[in-house]
């Protein structure tokens, strides 16, 4: 027994010693080469050595289009091969940020959601592009909201670009939701208001046995259900938070927020297919393509497959499908706001200077009108005004015009370092309301309370 005690005591002492050693293991700084090679210097250090320029994104058609676009870049820089590594959408954030945590990345250009910039900047993981942008990019060609949303941090309260704000990225892919409706069943004219849309969808469902009125993102994973609620909240005049006073509780769950949740859960969810509370991008596309729904809502960048006869039951050719489907910006209600989607181009701080230089050169090239036009042809959604309004872009797909028409009405999430935690609460609670696990008002109040707690605990906002 005495011996056992001695062994235990030794182990405890050893554990304590190692624990202290472990606690003392703070590496303090970060950035590796990054701090020594700011963007301005990096831009002038292009190398002629063969190299891969690697992006990381989630697995969807624009990722393939970006790799295809990379071949155009190789024509200008023959020593560079562009690669796009993809992960499933739910692992996208983790795949990038776990590498940031290791202070070493196997990608050069992380494609971050607009809301992730705060977290990446706070961690010191992406390059400050302020000087590079000032010297190399004609920012007048962009809607100021895009520059603020996809690149600046802290994001301006108004959502507009702040000329004094620091820039950490530039737009890669613009995006918003499009309404897709069955014009063969509902007529050619899109509903004027959101409530008209719900009524039309219900009528279509009642008149067409086996069909459901609506399909939209409801899953509790990623930002699926969260964006859906944000759309509703914005349309009914609600706000996500009061950025000035750092208040969420009492703002998101005010009368407008509650009305939005009520419409979502009590009027829209009953019109969706049974068991669709875990639906995201692929399921909504499948339901529309298989002719199971009258009206669907989808990110424009994810709609490419809807016109593919190989995966559609709506027609044997693209023309036949287009005889049945039509596309329009979201109907307005109290406001005409639309959700901002898309992502920005950023540069990892944890890569060698020559790679940073090449990444910046790619960004510079990518923002040229020629590259942007090619991007649009490949299925990307560009962000430059001149390209967005060009016939090349507007006529490339039947839904590109939806994005151009929506640009001035876009509205984003909060862009804070605590975004991932806030999103987790947001998606979980909205999904709880949608799936009937919680009463809508109780879910909204819990969401507001929990998010306020995260915001309060975050300190130095």
């Amino acid at each position: 027994m005495k011996g056992r005690f001695a062994v235990s005591a030794s182990l405890t002492a050893m554990a304590a010693a190692v624990t202290l050693a472990a606690c003392g293991g703070d590496d303090g700084g970060s950035g590796g080469d990054a701090d020594k090679a700011p963007a301005k210097q990096a831009a002038s250090a292009l190398s002629d050595k063969p190299m891969d320029l690697t992006f990381i994104w989630f697995d969807w058609p624009p990722a393939k289009a970006l790799e295809e676009l990379g071949k155009e870049y190789t024509k200008t820089r023959p020593n560079v091969t562009v690669k796009v590594n993809t992960v499933p959408n739910p692992q996208w954030h983790d795949a990038i940020f776990t590498q940031f945590a290791a202070r070493k990345t196997n990608f050069d250009l992380p494609i971050l959601d607009s809301q992730n910039i705060g977290e990446a900047v706070d961690n010191g993981s992406i390059l400050d592009l302020t000087d590079f942008v000032k010297e190399n990019i004609d920012t007048s060609q962009y809607d100021p909201y895009f520059l603020a949303a996809y690149g600046q941090y802290p994001q301006n309260t108004t959502g507009k670009a702040d000329p004094d704000a620091k820039t950490y990225g530039l737009p890669l892919l613009g995006d918003t939701w499009s309404m897709i409706w069955r014009k063969d069943l509902m007529g050619d004219t899109p509903p004027a208001t959101w409530e008209d849309m719900i009524a039309a969808a219900k009528k279509c469902q009642d008149e067409n046995k086996g069909m459901s009125g609506l399909a939209f993102h409801q899953a509790g994973t990623g930002d699926a259900a969260a964006v859906t609620y944000n759309v509703m909240n914005a349309l009914y005049g609600g706000e996500l938070w009061n950025q000035q006073d750092k208040k969420i509780d009492g703002v998101i769950n005010d009368a407008a927020g509650k009305k939005a949740m009520d419409v979502l859960v009590n009027q829209m969810v009953p019109l969706t297919p049974k068991g669709s509370s875990n639906w995201f991008i692929d399921e909504v596309n499948a339901a529309i393509s298989q002719g199971k729904v009258c009206v669907g809502f989808q990110w424009i960048a994810a709609m490419g497959g809807l016109l593919d006869p190989a995966s559609s039951e709506l027609g044997k050719t693209k023309e036949e499908i287009l005889d049945k489907l039509a596309f329009a910006p979201l109907p307005k209600q109290v406001t005409d706001k639309k959700p901002l989607g898309g992502m920005g181009l950023h540069v990892s701080k944890y890569i060698p200077a020559e790679k940073q230089a090449e990444a910046l050169n790619f960004i510079k090239w990518f923002q040229t009108p020629e590259a942007q036009k090619k991007w649009a042809q490949l299925g990307g959604v560009p962000a430059r005004n001149d390209v967005l309004n060009s016939p090349d872009f507007l006529e490339a797909t039947p839904y590109n015009k939806v994005f151009t028409d929506s640009v001035s009405q876009l509205k984003d999430f909060w862009n804070l370092p605590e975004y991932a935690k806030l999103l987790n609460v947001h998606s979980t609670q909205v999904n709880a309301a949608i799936s009937g696990t919680q009463q809508p008002e109780a879910a909204l109040d819990k969401l507001a309370k929990d998010e306020q707690k995260i915001l309060d605990e975050s300190g130095g906002l």
Binding site: K274, N278, P417, A443
Partner: protein
């Protein structure tokens, strides 16, 4: 005939000194003790490097507010992380979900596994082939199993619902209705891991001495009597070990939740492991997640200790 009664020599012959060959002399310093240490040291080093050191590191982090991605270093915060985990209503809810899952899944697997093993053990022809077939689910990756069942259980496109619909039962929301979603996780886990229990139960059943049954037959004992008094008592200790392994595995369920339900609907199928993952990677609260992990290890260790003591008593009794 040889004289075997010779008088033993009065003075013992001088013991011959054993000389090691020249090559072995060079390694004379290698005593048995040193040699054994040398043999186990690579494995020990690997164990320390891969298991013990990370565990101690985790323990150290659990007393700090460290975040793996933030650039702000760490601060010692005592047991704050432990208090936060233990007092969190979310953790309590996830613990309840995990407990329901463990009891449901392991209970069902034990009943089914033992029943199948019992039936197989009584059938001599094709026993090997049947056993191999039953083992297939266990050999598949849980991610593959999850994806496979996700497609099967989908309300709109899944084969299970198509079948139910064709029989007139209507479509069931296996993965999107609160109670059914957890039940579906139990079913899928049971499908995959029942063979594990079956395999161990089968080993126990085949090891029961035949003479016990023969003696019982001489006494004209009924089948039920033989099962109750011979089969079950002899297999039960082995089965308890299988149950312990399965319970520990089920307690840290992550992959099936991640693939099948994503923790939904509304977070109601989130297990403790899934919740730790969220704490660790949504916002990177590394210190808090470390404390959470340590607490889970403690719970499993204590539960296993009680269980093993019971098992020892059972075997001694």
């Amino acid at each position: 005939m040889a004289n075997t009664l010779q008088t033993p020599p009065q003075t013992s012959a001088k013991a011959e000194r054993l000389e090691a060959p020249p090559a072995a002399k060079r390694f004379a310093f290698l005593t048995d003790r040193k040699l054994s240490f040398l043999f186990i040291s690579p494995a020990l080093a690997l164990l320390v490097f891969l298991s013990i050191w990370p565990l101690l590191w985790l323990l150290g982090l659990s007393f700090t507010d460290y975040s793996a991605t933030r650039d702000t270093g760490w601060g010692f915060i005592g047991v704050d992380n432990y208090v936060e985990v233990l007092t969190s209503p979310v953790v309590h809810a996830r613990a309840l979900t995990t407990l329901i899952f463990v009891l449901g899944a392991v209970g069902l697997q034990t009943i089914l596994g033992f029943t199948i093993a019992f039936l197989i053990s009584r059938r001599v022809k094709g026993r090997g082939a049947i056993t191999t077939l039953f083992l297939i689910p266990m050999m598949l990756s849980p991610i593959v199993v999850g994806l496979f069942w996700k497609f099967m259980l989908d309300v709109q496109f899944g084969v299970v619902n198509s079948f139910l619909d064709s029989l007139g039962f209507g479509r069931v929301e296996w993965l999107t209705q609160q109670r059914l979603a957890l039940f579906s996780l139990v079913i899928v886990d049971t499908w995959q891991w029942t063979p594990f229990i079956m395999l161990i139960a089968l080993a126990g059943l085949t090891a029961v001495p035949k003479y016990l049954y023969e003696a019982a037959e001489i006494d004209r004992a009924s089948e039920w009597f033989k099962f109750r008094r011979i089969t079950f008592p002899l297999v039960w200790p082995l089965l308890l070990i299988a149950i312990m392994f399965r319970a520990i595995e089920a307690f840290r369920l992550f992959d099936l939740v991640y693939i099948l339900t994503g923790g939904g609907p509304g977070g109601t199928t989130e297990t403790l492991s899934f919740n730790v993952y969220k704490v660790a990677f949504f916002g990177f609260d590394t210190g808090l997640a470390s404390a959470y992990g340590i607490l889970m290890v403690i719970v499993v260790t204590i539960a296993a200790q009680f269980y093993l003591r019971y098992l020892n008593r059972l075997q001694e009794g």
